[in-house]
Amino acid sequence: MTEQEFEALLKRPLVEVADQGFSRGITARIERQARVGIWVDWAAVFVTFVLIVLFVPLGRLAAPFEVIGIGLGLSLPFAIACAALALTQAGLRWVAD
């Protein structure tokens, strides 16, 4: 074999490989993996939520807010402040009209 023949043999391009659904198959696999990923994400969110509900002392956490809410509801200064705000708002609207 001459040097030229050898060179030509080496440079001969590889045989073309027909796609025959290869690309489509890979895309389908990517889409399937993405769907599984979404399910896994939602499952993780759900499990986290369930664990929070089961193990976090929600009653104890909510207690201070309950105390504050009731305290504000029974507070006279707070009621006066709310009334003042409402009256100011109504007055402003009357002036504007």
Partner: protein, 169 residues
Amino acid sequence: MNENALLALAAAGDTAAYEALVRTHQSRLRGFLRRLARGDRALADDLAQEAILEAWRKIRQFRGEGAFSAWLARIGYRRYLMWARQRKLEPLDEDANDCAAMPSPDMKLDLEKAMARLSPPERAALTLCYAQSYTNEEAAAILALPLGTLKSHVARGREKLKALLEVAS
């Protein structure tokens, strides 16, 4: 649509754009891996599929510094090396005389058989530089080798291949 636009769409998560890219480049990648896998089509296609899936996961890391096909080939070659390492495959470095009994009905057939006798880096270097017309720099980047090492793989591979083909004929 040109390749850069397809790459941008694929990076944004468009699987149809990625499929179009894969359709364009699958033949080159699978051909390269088939030669690396010594003609084992099933293995080459498995490796190509894994490489293309890895490329999809990392597509945002592709900066467009080289050709997309070269980037895919690099991932494919790494996959092949991982597979070979798992199987504890030793690079074939046999003496050319071992091939004296090789039949030679056709030169192309001889080339594939002779290629199979080379070590994986030699086989890969010769395929990329000759059959796939990559530049030496591109081939070195694909194989993650210094340019000098690539050139010595090419030179050594050529010598071995020529000896093997002469023995065969």
